[in-house]
C-alpha cells in the first residue's frame, strides 16, 4: 500500500502538530476505490435485479424541461395498453402532479414523485414509489425523470434502457452542449418532428451531432401530435423486452 506520509507538505505537518496535543497520531493512506455514488449504484443494482426477476422491462426517459416526455409517454402508454400490455409509469417533477394526471388518462398505473426542488430522481425515491405494485403482473415500467440534462446522468435507476429526448425546437447542437448526458443514454428520440419545418430544424445535423458524441446510438424520430415514429419506437421497446425475457 502506498505510504503517503512522505508527501505531506510543511503546512500539513504544522497542522498535524497543532491538532495532536498529548495523544500522538499516525497518518496513513487508506485505499477505497469506490464510486462516489456507490450508495445509489447499489440500490439501483438491487432494483434492476428485482425488475428482472419480475419480468419487467424498465425505461428511463431524460430530457431538458418540456422536450415532450409526458406527451410521448401518454401515447406510448395508451398504445401499449390497447395492445394488451400491462404498463406503469413513475414521473418525477419538482412540483405538481400535472404529469401524473395526464399519464393516468391512459389507464396505466401512474405515480408521481414530487422532488420538492431536487433536480433528478434517485434510486431510493423510485423504490419508495413501487410499494403495493405487483411488479410480476407488469410488462413495462416507464420512468419520466425530472426535466434536466445534467444531474439525471449520474443516477442509475435500475433501468434497462435510457432514452434521451431532444425536441426539434431546441437546436441541433444540444448534443454537443450536453455530451455527457447523450453519451450516457442508450437511445435518442428526436421529438416534435411535426414542428421541424417551422423551426427550420436541420435533422441531418441533429443526427450527426448525436452520433458525434455517441457513435452508433439508435435514433428515433417521433411526433406525439401526429403519432409519426411511435410504432417504430414501440416495436423497438417490445423487441428489447423480448431479447431480455424471451417473450
Amino acid at each position: 500500500m502506498t505510504d503517503l506520509t512522505d508527501l505531506i507538505d510543511l503546512i500539513d505537518l504544522i497542522d498535524l502538530i497543532d491538532l495532536t496535543d498529548e495523544e500522538s497520531m499516525t497518518t496513513r493512506y487508506l485505499e477505497i476505490r469506490q464510486g462516489v455514488l456507490s450508495k445509489n449504484d447499489q440500490l439501483a443494482a438491487g432494483l434492476r435485479e428485482r425488475f428482472t426477476r419480475a419480468g419487467l422491462f424498465v425505461a428511463n426517459l431524460v430530457s431538458s424541461p418540456g422536450a415532450g416526455k409526458t406527451a410521448l409517454l401518454e401515447r406510448v402508454l395508451a398504445e401499449m395498453r390497447a395492445a394488451g400490455l400491462q404498463v406503469a409509469a413513475v414521473v418525477g417533477d419538482l412540483q405538481t402532479d400535472n404529469d401524473a394526471r395526464r399519464l393516468a388518462r391512459s389507464g396505466a398505473l401512474v405515480r408521481q414523485i414530487t422532488t420538492d426542488g431536487m433536480c433528478h430522481l434517485e434510486a431510493d425515491m423510485l423504490a419508495g414509489k413501487l410499494e403495493g405494485w405487483d411488479l410480476d403482473a407488469l410488462d413495462f415500467l416507464f420512468i419520466e425523470n425530472v426535466g434536466n440534462l445534467v444531474c439525471p446522468t449520474w443516477y442509475d435507476l435500475g433501468e434497462d434502457v435510457r432514452l434521451v429526448l431532444l425536441s426539434v425546437t431546441e437546436g441541433e447542437d444540444k448534443p454537443l452542449k450536453y455530451p455527457v448526458m447523450f453519451n450516457s443514454a442508450d437511445v435518442a428520440v428526436i421529438t416534435k418532428t411535426d414542428l421541424a419545418a417551422a423551426c427550420e430544424c436541420d435533422l441531418d445535423a441533429m443526427r450527426a451531432n448525436i452520433h458525434s458524441v455517441r457513435p452508433g446510438m439508435r435514433i428515433f424520430e417521433t411526433s406525439a401530435k401526429t403519432g409519426a415514429g411511435l410504432p417504430e419506437l414501440i416495436a423497438f421497446l417490445l423487441e428489447q423486452r423480448r431479447a431480455k425475457f424471451g417473450n
Binding site: 495532536t20 493512506y29 445534467v150 444531474c151 455530451p179 453519451n183
Partner: protein, 126 residues
C-alpha cells in the same frame, strides 16, 4: 451547482470508510474524475469545503486526478485518448469509436487519515 449533491455523497462515503478504519480525521481525499463524468472540477472543489464542514473531513484537501476519455479504435486496433468529449472520432484515423475504455470515473481512489497511535499499532491481546 449540481456538484453539491455529488460532494455530499463523496463526503458521506469517505467519512464512513474513515470511521470504519478508526480515523480521527481525514486529511486528504483522492478522487479520480473522468472527463465524461460530467462533474465540473471547480464547482466540486467549491462544494467540497461546504460539504465537509462539521465532518471528519473538515479542513481536508480534495486531490483530483483528471482521467481523459479513452476509446478503442477498431481500425487502429488500439486504445486512444480523446482531446475532448464532443467528438468521438479517433484522433489518428478519424473513425467513430463506439467503445469507451475510460473516462466515466467518478471514484474515490483513497483517503489519507490520521489514526491515534494505539489504533494504528494495536497492542497484541494478552
Amino acid at each position: 451547482m449540481h456538484e453539491l449533491s455529488i460532494a455530499a455523497s463523496l463526503v458521506e462515503s469517505a467519512e464512513q470508510a474513515a470511521r470504519r478504519a478508526g480515523a480521527q480525521r481525514v486529511t486528504q481525499v483522492f478522487l479520480r474524475l473522468g472527463a465524461l463524468s460530467g462533474v465540473a472540477k471547480d464547482a466540486l472543489l467549491f462544494s467540497y469545503d461546504i460539504a465537509t464542514a462539521g465532518t471528519l473531513l473538515a479542513g481536508s484537501q480534495l486531490v483530483i486526478e483528471d482521467v481523459p476519455v479513452i476509446v478503442h479504435c477498431d481500425q487502429c486496433r488500439c486504445d486512444v485518448a480523446l482531446p475532448g468529449i464532443q467528438d468521438f472520432r479517433c484522433p489518428v484515423c478519424g473513425r467513430l469509436c463506439v467503445q469507451i475504455v475510460a473516462g466515466r470515473e467518478l471514484e474515490i481512489a483513497g483517503i489519507e487519515i490520521e489514526v491515534a497511535d494505539e489504533e494504528a499499532n494495536p497492542q497484541p491481546a494478552t
